[in-house]
Symmetry: C2
Subunit: 219 residues, 2 copies
């Protein structure tokens, strides 16, 4: 009875819960590294700007992880979230666009800790093709399907200019990826069965500046 029971994940969790799960995981790892074995919903929520009730309800979707009077055991909860998130799988990734941002992503250390690895890079610029960055070689974009057969990447990152983003997306899909993370400042159109996430750096700043002007503090 010392171990907690994880509900079947068939229990569809609300989308909003899943987005917070990653934040909980990250924060729990910091807390645990810092030496704490347990944490209460109030503490954890406080660090992330969520209410205690929300933290408890979020975890309750997946099972009973807490001990009344004590809180949650970090290790246990970390393991549970990692399982739920599938964070124990390895994810080889293809990068399209070896410009400023693409090169920074290739060098970024934070991915490997979470088992994401950029295994191949692609670009259309002949000057970039053939070079190596952090041990990853830059291939011509046209070669993506050939390389995909060998490297088996399932996710793709688009770090091209806006004009080339749709083409990059199409090539990635042709190469068989099932998810695309798009850093180009334009919406891309993909088949229904492909998952996408977008990060537009300028938009992040725009939202922030709006919040500042309108005195909306905190998140």
């Amino acid at each position: 009875m010392a171990t907690s029971k994880t509900k079947t994940l068939s229990t569809e969790a609300p989308k909003a819960v899943v987005t917070r799960l990653s934040l909980y995981l990250r924060e729990l790892q910091h807390i645990h590294h810092q030496g704490d074995e347990t944490v209460s919903s109030t503490q954890l929520g406080g660090r992330l700007g969520f209410s205690d009730a929300q933290v408890r309800k979020d975890f309750a979707y997946f099972g009973q992880f807490g001990r009344p009077g004590i809180g949650y055991r970090c290790e246990e909860l970390i393991a549970a979230i990692r399982t739920i998130m599938g964070a124990d799988l390895n994810w080889p990734i293809a990068l399209v666009g070896a410009g400023n941002l693409g090169r920074a992503l290739l060098r970024y250390k934070g991915f490997s800790e979470r088992r994401f690895q950029i295994v191949s890079a692609f670009d259309t610029d002949p000057e970039k093709v053939g070079s190596q960055i952090e041990g990853v070689s830059v291939h011509p974009l046209d070669a993506i399907e050939t390389v995909a057969a060998k490297e088996k990447f399932r996710l793709g990152i688009i770090a091209t200019p806006a004009e080339s983003a749709q083409h990059a997306a199409d090539r990635l899909v042709a190469a068989g990826v099932s998810g695309v993370l798009n850093f180009a400042p334009v919406a891309i159109n993909l088949p229904e069965n492909i998952c996408t996430a977008e990060v537009d750096l300028a938009i992040e700043l725009e939202q922030l500046s709006f919040a500042v002007v309108n005195q909306l503090s905190e998140k």
Copy 2:
């Protein structure tokens, strides 16, 4: 009567609407560049993955911009959103952390188009301090208050490792910024009156991989 009337923005718009406003703006600019003078809610929504009703309702919070039977005039709508978002102001920005990611942000062209400009960079690494990147000089982090007096930045970007992020945030606040965009993979604690936005690249991938595994297609 040819011009539309913009409601006072005192009409507090839902947070969710504001996050979409930036996407509308970006997309309208693409559509307009592409030569179209008008766009319907169905077209615009289709490109972004929103319903037509949502698009109409979103704009209706700020006034009456559309013409029945025609749609929305791109120019008019672009101007209106820019006004609402305060996108006509200039935002000088301080960057803390001149590593991989920081340098990529300094070189990123997408900011200036939206009137964001990194005017000073800071780092604690003596090897980086004193160098110039894209015409921006890297100062010692301790000098931030002195530089702030001259450069008057109101926003700060944190692109440091997780361990240094809280300290970077504290220095930025001491230097008088009112908003912080945090790329470090850790939650930071700030005074109530400071706005924050977070972008964690690994978390974006984690969310994407979860969506792939759980067959959640599209957004």
